[in-house]
Amino acid sequence: MTKEMTLKSVVAELRDGMTIGMGGWGPRRKPMALVREILRSDLKDLTIVAYGGPEIGMLCAAGKVRKLIYGFVSMDVIPIEPYFRKAREAGAIDVVELDEGHLLLGLRAAGHKVPFIPTRVGLGSAVMINNPQLKTIRSPYEDGEVLVAMPAIKLDATLLHVSRADRNGNTLTFGPDPYFDDLFARAADKVYVTAEEVVDSIASDNPEDMKANLVEPYLVKGVVNAPLGAHPTASHYSYGWDLPHLKAYVASAAEENGWAAYFDKYIAGGEESYAASVGGEAQIRQLPLPTM
């Protein structure tokens, strides 16, 4: 049984109103090919959960988002995501702005199928005021400490971008940091993975290689061959983030009908022509990996 799918067949399995988790971190390893396919679809009213980068701004700009659950939305070297900022300042979306760690704990609770995980994080901060659904709990032990009961964040689907996958749903994710892709996967009913390459088998003689395996195949519903599928975000060790492109994307937000122009220029033509529209494969593969 093969788990191989296409971008279109994955998006066809998503429904209006779903809660969807995005792997990666800011401008790093975002499932952008699938995000672009969502942008081309008529999906709407989505709740998006992420350590957000440009995927959040794009989905907001395209009117796909009803609600955002996030620890941040930033492109790192470009601190402010322009379309996210616009959507927020227009009051256009519901938001659950959490501490970065809350997101981790909420996803972990969902993955472990418990209703909450206790934490001190949030006490004394505006997170508790802006999110009255967050409740506190008193420790049942002698200490009696008051803690935040961070509720499970359950996801209908999670979209991840990985380095290598096979048709059985085995995956390898290279790079300095796995971020929280494993927790996003475990919190979701269905996980769809795009990969820089899909191979017959990821099997290796070197057990050390398998430290790059973040999730069990039973979590992975679909695998899509999507080389360069994280562009314009970074995908270790294939290419870095595309700073000139991100700057052009940011600039589009200051133009009248800027989003429509960006969409028409890069996205509308389909994923087949995407790489060519942003400079071509050879140029993308030479984008330097970030050094901070």
Binding site: W25, Y70, G71, F72, V73, S74, P79, I80, F84, R85, R88, E89, A90, G91, V95, E97, L98, D99, E100, G101, H102, L104, T119, R120, V121, G122, L123, G124, S125, A126, V127, M128, I129, N130, T136, V146, P176, D177, P178, Y179, F180, P290, T291, M292
Partner: protein, 266 residues
């Protein structure tokens, strides 16, 4: 050690900021932004060799990584610090960060999230609270603010309490406000929140700056700490280390006009 004759305000601030980590043993230290990062590197290369720094991505390094293009410098890695382990360090209290909030108030609360009275429709959306709520309740934080004025050090409360402080009304009943604030380093002075009832108190004034001038630029009352002094000038040795940590001079862009370390008398 030779006291430098010629130095910039940014360099004076870097040396003052490094002091934040003087007694930190082997804590995980994060200087976020160029000045805090250079300061953390300076601390590690001088009086705080045990503090743990990263390459800015996900690895611990024993020699601080210089800012910007690295030329011949090749980082040597001595540990792995992916975000999952950052959170483990944060939540166990084994970290001391230096951050640059947009607003700070008399309670030591700080904001990087958004500006304006209505969080549902902010006047200016910034970063979101990021890790500030968890950082500030779990471990020590110092701050660097390059523009000391009443827009940054606000009169009332910050618009969004991202980093927690000592205002009891923001804490649940029965929970004692808990924040561990280190040094607040600005372009005018160094202060902390260790006065009576966590009041802000000035520890040192940068050369040529008066206490009245700092108070005038601050939206809440300041105290003079016992032994308040003039911020110490860098030594030539410190300037040399700062240069190796910032070979491309990013520090010259942090303060408007890159002013000299000793201001002309007002």
């Amino acid at each position: 050690m030779t006291i430098a004759k010629d130095f910039t305000l940014a360099e004076l601030i870097i040396v003052a900021a490094a002091e934040a980590w003087r007694s930190d043993g082997e804590l995980f230290v994060t200087g976020i932004g160029p000045v805090p990062r250079i300061a953390a590197g300076l601390a590690k290369m001088t009086f705080a060799p045990g503090i743990q720094l990263t390459d800015g991505e996900a690895f611990l390094v024993e020699t601080p990584v210089p800012l910007g293009p690295r030329g011949d410098f090749k980082p040597r890695y001595s540990g792995w610090m992916p975000y999952s382990r950052v959170f483990d360090s944060v939540w166990s209290g084994q970290r001391h960060a230096m951050v640059t909030p947009v607003q700070v108030d008399r309670y030591g609360q700080a904001n990087i999230s958004a500006l304006g009275p209505d969080f549902r429709k902010p006047k200016v959306q910034m970063l979101g609270v990021r890790g500030f709520p968890g950082n500030s309740i779990c471990h020590k934080n110092s701050m660097f603010l390059p523009n000391h004025n009443k827009r940054t050090f606000v009169e009332g409360e910050v618009d969004v309490v991202a980093s927690v402080g000592f205002n009891p009304k923001n804490w649940p009943e029965g929970v004692k406000p808990a924040a561990d604030l280190g040094l607040i380093v600005t372009d005018l002075c160094v202060f902390d929140f260790n006065g009576p009832d966590h009041a802000a108190q000035v520890l040192s004034l940068h050369p040529g700056v008066t206490f009245e001038q700092v108070q005038e630029a601050t939206g809440f009352p300041l105290l003079r700490a016992a032994g308040m002094k003039v911020t110490e000038a860098p030594t030539e040795e410190q300037l040399a280390i700062i240069h190796t940590l910032d070979p491309h001079g990013v520090r010259t862009t942090v303060l408007k006009g890159n002013p000299p370390g000793i201001r002309a008398a007002a």
